[in-house]
């Protein structure tokens, strides 16, 4: 896994370098305002965690960086130059790979084809060059095994995998292809404890390999395990924006839960034996 990262990571990366920067970015869907005045910097060798309630605008934020929806307001800078991606292809071309929350895979296609979709290995560059099918199957299988996922048949349609297994394929793919920036939208939501651990390890490894990582999650514990910088969104605006050194796990948890509600909750639910 780490080998993979090092093989694929852009060797030109310098820790602390600003890879992606958002200045005052805003986004509306028709009449619905999803984001407003967001400032965010993704630095090489750092994990930026974005937290927030449901509907806060987290997915919208990363869709802007990955070129799925263009932003309406403010500026998006990649490597210091202002850009407005009109398709995910452009963003990928800048070495930005994304795991989407709701656009993970093509159900009817085989696992290995999904893994390599959009970045197939071929015997040449001319359009009808043959695919290196055997290699791709082997690599896909290997990368998945590294995450602790053994699919019964690398040729089976990905739609027959469990929800978590599918999520793992999407993550493994992004890690494998993310050369400079890796964006993960709630990667651990559908995962078991073991798989979550693996994803967190990957995230850390990507950071150590010098990539810039954006990590979206609802779980402040997970966030605090890997994050260098924390942003909490609320109704499309940033309500907290702090470095790791400025904020503790407790404050993060409290902010996420909207004050003391969680403490109250465990009180309310208090049961014998716990």
């Amino acid at each position: 896994m780490t080998d993979t990262l090092h093989e694929h990571a852009d060797p030109e990366l310098h820790e602390g370098e600003k890879l992606v920067e958002m200045v005052n970015v805003g986004k509306t869907y028709g009449a619905i305002r999803a984001l407003k005045g967001i400032n965010l910097t993704v630095k090489a060798g750092e994990v930026t965690c974005v937290l927030g309630d449901n509907g806060a605008g987290k997915s919208t934020l990363i869709k802007i960086i990955s070129g799925l929806h263009p932003h309406n307001e403010g500026e998006l800078l990649v490597d210091g130059k202002p850009v407005s991606f009109s398709s995910p292809r452009e963003s990928l071309a800048h070495g930005i790979a994304t795991v989407y929350q709701d656009l993970a895979v093509v159900s009817l296609m085989e696992v290995w084809r999904n893994f390599f979709l959009g970045s197939e290995m071929t015997n040449g560059t001319y359009p009808f060059a043959g695919l290196k099918i055997r290699d791709m199957k082997r690599i896909a299988d290997e990368e998945l095994r590294k995450m602790g996922i053994v699919v019964k048949d690398i040729d089976q349609p990905i739609g027959t995998l469990s929800g978590g297994q599918r999520q793992c394929v999407a993550i493994a793919r992004a890690v494998y292809f993310g050369a400079r920036v890796l964006i993960l939208d709630e990667p651990t939501a559908a995962l078991g404890v073991k798989q979550s651990g693996v994803v967190l390890k990957y995230t850390a490894a990507a950071r150590d390999a010098g990539l810039g990582v954006v990590f979206i999650t609802h779980n402040p514990h997970h966030a605090y395990l890997v994050g260098d910088h924390f942003i909490i969104l609320k109704l499309g605006e940033a309500v907290l924006d702090k470095k790791r050194s400025e904020v503790g796990l407790d404050e993060l948890t409290r902010q996420m839960a909207g004050g003391d509600e969680l403490t109250e909750l465990s009180h309310e639910l208090k049961r014998p034996g716990s």
């Binding site: 080998d3 090092h6 292809r89 296609m109 959009g118 043959g130 095994r145 048949d153 739609g159």
Partner: protein, 354 residues
């Protein structure tokens, strides 16, 4: 973390306990074209029994020829359907291609080869417009191509009437370039006492190419992806627009090819022809296991679908059945083919894909 950390090997062997390797036969049965193949064999044997006139090499090649005239365009339509789109204008594009070539050259006295090339450009443009409109407006391809279908159908008639004063194209078999184009598009080989039309060879060639592209190239991968889930495909960087526009242009290229065959085989074309064939292409694709909603199917299945259609069509005549019931037989055969297809798939696996 250390860079020498090995991949966690603990869980992998544990999981493999409920891993099942499907046997070769099961793997085979799960392919989209196998059901169609079984259906084709069943129908073939059935007609060998009931239609004595079918039991000759001649008849078999006539069936192959008939299948090829549908099958060539169906190759493209099948790929387009795997890519998640329809083309209802393919049938009339065939006629438009031939008419364009014939009238353009006849009126201006130009070499037919020049006309054929211009006709190709024209057809590719039609395909491009179809694809571009579908992608840019987001209107379903069913509607856009229905529009082009009507427009071309009307234009075929209107322009032909305007230029020739009749509803069929002028006869072009005395013009420059005819013999070359006839040899390319309409030659007949005589081997071992049977007549093998060149379209059959072209057809098999296109099928093989389509099969290769779909299974073995990056573009093929993209075609399945845009048909299966265009949004996901776009999200991983597949150029959805280019792929889909390319597919529409592939269909119109093959329509042009078939139009050339009709023109150089029959020397004239009726302006009203081709209407209705668009459905034969779709039927061939679907009988061959292509999913109507996209993302699933393959080239060999589509070829078998065209063969089933051609065979049923002609064998009802070989069998000498009452032509009034023709369509009823055709319907029963179609249902039969589809049901056999389904049954074979059920046999192989109850795996549900969703």
């Amino acid at each position: 973390m250390s860079h020498t950390t090995k991949a966690p090997p603990s869980s992998a062997p544990a999981e493999s306990s409920n891993r099942v390797t499907l046997g070769l036969s099961n793997r085979l049965l799960a392919r989209p074209e196998v059901g169609a193949l079984v259906a084709a064999i069943v129908i073939f044997i059935f007609f060998l029994i009931v239609a004595p006139a079918f039991r000759s090499a001649d008849s078999f090649f006539t069936v192959l020829y008939q299948a090829s005239t549908i099958g060539i365009v169906a190759v493209g339509v099948g790929m387009l359907m795997i890519g998640g789109e329809f083309d209802l204008s393919a049938g009339v594009t065939v006629t438009a291609a031939g008419l364009f070539n014939a009238m353009f050259c006849y009126e201006l006295g130009i070499n037919l080869i020049v006309g054929a090339v211009l006709s190709l450009v024209f057809c590719l443009l039609v395909g491009f417009i179809n694809g571009y409109l579908v992608m840019r407006t987001g209107i379903p391809s069913f509607l856009i191509t229905l529009g082009t279908f009507f427009v071309l159908q009307g234009a075929n008639l209107g322009v032909t009437k305007l230029i020739t004063g009749s509803v069929s194209s002028p006869n072009i078999n005395q013009m420059d370039g005819y013999s070359f184009l006839n040899a390319v598009f309409a030659h007949e080989f005589h081997v071992f006492g049977v007549t093998l039309p060149i379209t059959v060879i072209w057809w098999l060639l296109f099928v093989a190419m389509s099969g290769y592209i779909l299974q073995r190239t990056r573009i093929g991968n993209w075609i399945y992806a845009v048909g299966g889930n265009a949004d996901s495909a776009r999200a991983v960087g597949v150029p959805v627009l280019k792929v889909k526009v390319g597919l529409f242009m592939t269909v119109s290229f093959l329509a042009w090819f078939t139009g050339m065959h009709y023109l150089y085989n029959f020397n004239v074309l009726q302006a009203g022809n081709g209407v209705g064939n668009e459905f034969l292409y779709i039927i061939a694709a679907v009988v061959g296991g292509t999913l109507l909603t996209g993302g699933y199917g393959n080239a060999f299945g589509v070829a078998i679908g065209a063969f089933i259609f051609g065979m049923t069509n002609l064998c009802i005549v070989y069998a000498g059945w009452d032509p009034n019931w023709f369509k009823a037989f055709l319907g029963v055969m179609l249902l039969l083919a589809v049901i056999v297809n389904l049954y074979v798939k059920k046999l192989s696996t109850t795996r549900k894909v969703g």
